[in-house]
């Protein structure tokens, strides 16, 4: 049965590499566990062992912009995949392919213009002051 890899491609270097990675990572962790020095003082578990005692919860609520940027990253990141797909066979695809990828990028740019004008790219609240409609329009749409 024909397999995943073309004939003649050796798999053993990959396997060796994998084993090496496991041995290296395991070795470093294991050795430092065995050889490392350990102590259990009263303040050992604190974030700042010799500093001020922290107060409050470490679970800070992130501003929503972080999520927004993450969402934009996911979307625009994938659009790069399609452009790479075109790029590796650009010569074969010729002008027709070029026109198609230009249309594709034009759509992306208009999406970016839309996001920019909605204020989705502004960080913080100062810039969006007085733009109530933008505030709620921002997360609608095609995100």
């Amino acid at each position: 049965m024909p397999g995943l890899l073309a004939d003649g491609v050796e798999l053993w270097p990959l396997a060796l590499y994998f084993v090496a990675v496991v041995v290296l990572a395991g070795g470093i962790l294991g050795l430092s566990y065995v050889l490392g020095e350990r102590h259990r003082e009263r303040a050992t578990g604190m974030p700042y062992e010799s500093g001020m005692i922290p107060t409050g919860s470490a679970r800070v609520r992130m501003p929503v912009e972080f999520y927004l940027v993450a969402l934009f990253f996911v979307i625009f990141d994938l659009e790069a995949v399609f452009i790479f797909g075109w790029a590796i066979s650009a010569r074969q695809l010729g002008w027709a392919g070029y026109v198609e990828v230009v249309i594709f990028i034009a759509v992306l740019v208009s999406a970016l213009v839309y996001l920019w004008r909605q204020g989705a790219l502004d960080w913080g609240t100062a810039r969006r002051a007085g733009a109530d409609r933008d505030r709620s329009g921002r997360r609608h749409g095609d995100e």
Partner: protein
């Protein structure tokens, strides 16, 4: 040991699909639910890649590109909805999101 038979890859893909489906049915946290869907989609994607390699075609790989695009859409809309759900309910438990009955 130079090739991986298609059937082996298909079995791994089926296991992924099963794992995702189990997660979808068992987990109540919305984050894990979205994660499970992602795993199911990757199972389907792996099956396409394996089939494409078997037939020595690019079609299956193109399908994989479409699948990850769809997964990204799902994640983007999903996360936006999760934020809204947290805003309304202060929890990520799916069972809490059951205001509709009938």
């Amino acid at each position: 040991m130079t090739t991986v038979p298609m059937m082996h890859a298909m079995i791994v893909a089926a296991i992924l699909l099963g794992l995702g489906l189990t997660g979808l049915l068992v987990r109540r946290n919305i984050m894990f639910t979205l994660l499970s869907i992602e795993i199911m989609l990757n199972g389907a994607g792996l099956a396409f890649i394996a089939a494409a390699a078997h037939w020595k075609q690019a079609d299956g790989q193109v399908m994989y590109l479409f699948i990850i695009t769809m997964a990204a859409v799902e994640v983007a809309v999903g996360l936006a909805l999760v934020l809204q759900m947290y805003h309304h309910l202060r929890t990520l438990d799916l069972d809490a999101a059951s205001s509709m009955k009938g």
